[in-house]
Amino acid sequence: MALLEVRGLSKNFSGLIALDHLDLDVNESEILGIIGPNGAGKSTLFNVVTGYLEPARGKVSFDGCDITRMDPHDIAKVGIGRTFQLSTLFAKTTVSDCLLTAFHRLYQAPWWKVLLNTPAARKEDKTARQKVVEMLDFLELTEHKDKLAEELSSGFKRALAIGIALVSRPRLLLLDEPVTTLSPDRVERIMELLMKLREAGTTIVIIEHNMKAIMDYCDRIAVLAFGKNIAEGSAQQIRGNKEVIEAYLGEMD
């Protein structure tokens, strides 16, 4: 059984069809790349899966549980992390506080213990801060930890956005254009980071226009066009697929 199963998912925006009976499987511990021309429904797929948009029809299940029409914060709690296009962040918050905030779903202590600052709450806070230090180190953001998120360069902003989705250790990570517009060495650094994560057991889905990153690093690739899944397979198979080439009309290198 796949970790994430999307079945017959449809979504339209006042007549415009964004998703058209889409089927997609994401297997445990793989990096799945999603590509497709602009307006193919890639980001809409993420937004429906994570509960930000309600589908017209269809079903999404995660680890065997139906998560269709659940609220975004509840979907986060079952273990799906995500980033957003253009990586908007908590602009006026420091880098380390961003990550500390992102630890939210793992806190157990009830609110009154937090207000009274009981040993249990303090211990929890300490563990969270420890995890944040580790994450800063992993993202190579330690030297920037006291900067405000908006002061970071775009490469570090992307890294922080991934960090925010990652710090609470979700099983599935959905990344919307994590390396678009970044310079080649930054792309490589972020993709290497994702490889390390997959080795640690995290399943990752990436929407990306950077073909080199997708072809080099993804285990499997799915191609979306007009809200449908038109092809699935390895980089080799996708490269040779006639339909895909037609959909892109020579956009591929």
Binding site: T50, P72, H73, R82, F90, R105
Partner: protein, 283 residues
């Protein structure tokens, strides 16, 4: 009260024009309960808080789904509805005349001030604990970016409601204490200007800071009072103070005072350092 209001505006970024309504609800709840049933005033304060919590919960569920401007308008309406209700229900509330003879908190003024100070410290403590915990961080996340806040598991609606209710309770208890102190309960408590005052205090003090709003409230209440001898000029002095503070400390009083202190510290440090250098060369 301002500190309580700050929890809504400063930490969730919602403009509420209705908090004067909560002050009035608190004030009238306590007054009516204490005077009609001859109960001690602490019961009144608790009742005021409970009434405000109930009102805030119901209105909060209804209006918090509205964002930005709509929220501001609806809460504006809420404050006015409360004021209108106080005037309409004049067989209970005495309408325009207000209710005189509200029992005082303590006989001595000094004890009263001590008690008010203690309550203020309690509010500071509660708000401080909220702000410097995961709850405060979640609230800030909701203000900065609700979409990302939800993606990390923050229940945006619940946290906004929490800030709204807590601030309403603080305003309500504050309103109740105010009428016990003034010994008269009057409908103007619910007017828009009271809410506007709260917004100004929060903004001037530094949105999302802790002590700033309280300093601002103090400044803008007592500074114009000092000019009581030229009574009709007081609003002008209020406005002038506002302009001067806004020009000098656009980010708010607390950040301004902080940077002033840190500058003073560096200045003193540099002076001390240069002196020791002179000492060395002199010797």
């Amino acid at each position: 009260m301002t500190t309580g209001y700050n929890l809504v505006l400063g930490y969730t970024g919602l403009f509420s024009f209705g908090h004067a309504g909560f002050i009035a609800i608190g004030a009238y709840s306590s007054t009516l309960l204490v005077m009609n049933y001859h109960l001690p005033w602490p019961v009144g304060l608790v009742f005021a808080g409970a009434m405000c919590a109930a009102f805030a919960l119901v209105t909060g569920v209804l209006v918090l789904r509205l964002g930005g401007v709509y929220f501001a308008f609806v809460t504006l309406g809420f404050g006015e509805i409360i004021r209108a209700l106080i005037l309409i229900l004049d067989d209970i509330t005495e309408g325009h005349f207000g209710i005189p003879g509200v029992p005082p908190l303590f006989d001595s003024l000094t004890t009263t001030y001590m008690f008010v100070f203690l309550m203020m410290m309690l509010v500071f403590f509660i708000v401080y604990r909220i702000v410097h915990s995961r709850i405060g961080r979640a609230l800030i996340a909701v203000r900065e970016n609700p979409a990302i806040a939800a993606s990390i598991g923050v229940n945006v609606a619940r946290y906004t409601l929490l800030a709204f209710v807590v601030s309403a309770v603080i305003c309500g208890v504050g309103g109740a204490m105010l009428v016990h102190y003034l010994s008269i309960c009057y409908p103007q408590l619910a007017q828009i200007l009271t809410s506007v005052d709260l917004i100004i205090f929060t903004k001037i003090g530094g949105r999302g800071t802790l002590v700033g709003p309280a300093i601002a409230a103090f400044l803008f209440t007592f500074f114009p009072e000092m000019f009581r001898f030229i009574d009709e000029w007081r609003p002008l002095i209020y406005a002038l103070t506002l302009v001067v503070v806004l020009l000098m400390a656009p980010m708010g009083l607390e950040p301004a005072i902080r940077s002033l202190i840190s500058r003073a510290v560096t200045y003193i440090k540099s002076r001390m350092f240069s002196r020791s250098k002179y000492g060395i060369t002199g010797g």
